[in-house]
Symmetry: C2
Subunit: 240 residues, 2 copies
DNA sequence: TTATACGGTTTGGCATACAATTTTCGGCAC
DNA sequence: GTGCCGAAAATTGTATGCCAAACCGTATAA
């Protein structure tokens, strides 16, 4: 789905890359093929704003910067295009995708449904150890909240959502969730920097943890969906 | 060489067209870049069983068969890999993906959730004309059912599900749905060839059509999910 | 007979060279 | 000063070549 693409940016500029969101580096088989390594590197660069949304990707320049030839770089770009992290223009190369608000809304809508399913499956199929791990992450996150450590909070928040989905054991769901989530990583990070309604999000996580502990699949599903709805409100209201 | 760059003929001989499920050919911008053309062609070949699941993709052989060099073919293969239509082995090339039963179950589980959301959005956001179109497809499908025209039924069935999701207007959902659905195309086609419980599926479609007509979002969502559950029963029981 | 070592062949991985298209920019006309 | 046209430069798209790793068959030794 083609986004506007040429529009500079949707959220704040965030030009200074002094704060690097840290890559999830959740990559598949990154150690093996050069193409995979390059693709992973590109994902990290996009997430860390080293490649800014809307900016063109110059193949020759990037390839010599990464010390690879254009061939594996181009193949890596194709991968990111099909992940919708970059957009390919006909004979004019590729630009880093910059989702507009409507696309963000759509992504969150789908993610909400997927996380609801993930929560349900986590309760139905997840073993106790898995759920204990998630609860442990939850308490770590609370700790970060009370320390006002936004970066730690952000990372633990991401880890929790990912773990809940993973606990369901549906590899397709895990995969799809990760792919859609990657498209929102930057925006979520930026949105997290404001502490708008931070306590609300924490309260929702408390409820999520309760439902997990109680193994209440239905309630957890509803909570997960609502929680993402809350994310949309945060991002949307901050848009301006 | 100078084969004048882009040769007009994109479609290939079609060697053994005894049973051709017909490609959806729902491709993005297939007319533009050679890589896109090759990727589309590969998708069609996989769907039509010209490239059979589990078989290796030999780059040199395929490239000369498609009259392109290995470079665009390799880039196209990368795209299909990230769509999970082919699987890439470390230093041993690519093979056509052959989903096992567990993966099919997972795919259907996620698709069920997505189609439920699609149904809900179709009712909430779809205008009357859109829904009328879907109902028209439904009646066409009924006609195919009574004619016992399995191929027409199959295609219309696919078109209906796609249209319902499309009516919701969520591009991300449409895209994700299409991608996951593509991985099941062959299996669904094969499953459709048996007329196991054909009437049950038709009855479910009747209910779906009713819910659409009544604009009952909640009921439609439940029906869509259950309907896919039914697909799983069909596929699973036939597996053996 | 079986296991294993070895060399030829095939295939994929990456780099580089060439072609086609787009962008840029200088010059000229208005 | 503004706008249009064209050639040069830059960039992407495609093809080809070289190298290394994996496969297969044979032969040799236990």
């Amino acid at each position: 789905m083609a986004t506007s693409g040429i529009e500079p940016r949707v959220l704040v500029e965030h030009d200074a890359p002094d704060t690097l969101p840290e890559p999830p580096n959740d990559n598949d088989l990154a150690g093996r093929l050069l193409v995979s390594q390059v693709a992973s590197k590109l994902r990290d660069m996009i997430i860390q704003d080293e490649l800014k949304p809307g900016s063109r990707i110059r193949e020759r320049q990037l390839s010599e910067r990464l010390n690879v030839s254009r061939t594996p770089l181009r193949e890596a770009i194709r991968i990111l295009v099909s992940e919708r992290l970059v957009q390919s223009l006909p004979n004019r190369g590729a630009v880093v995708a910059s989702p507009d608000m409507e696309e963000v809304r759509q992504l969150l809508q789908v993610l909400g449904t997927l996380e609801a399913l993930g929560g349900q499956l986590a309760v139905e199929a997840g073993d106790d150890a898995r759920i204990e791990e998630i609860l442990a992450l939850h308490h770590e996150m609370l700790s970060a909240y009370y320390r006002k450590d936004k970066l730690a909070y952000f990372k633990l928040n991401q880890a929790i959502h990912k773990s809940i989905v993973a606990a369901g054991g549906n590899a397709v769901l895990i995969d799809t969730h990760a792919q859609l989530n990657a498209r929102l990583y930057r925006i979520r990070y930026i949105s997290n920097q404001r502490d708008d309604r931070w306590h609300e999000a924490v309260e929702q996580h408390e409820q999520i943890a309760d439902a997990l502990k109680a193994r209440d699949a239905g309630r957890l599903a509803v909570l997960m969906r609502d929680h993402i709805g809350h994310t949309w409100v945060k991002v949307h209201s901050a848009d301006g």
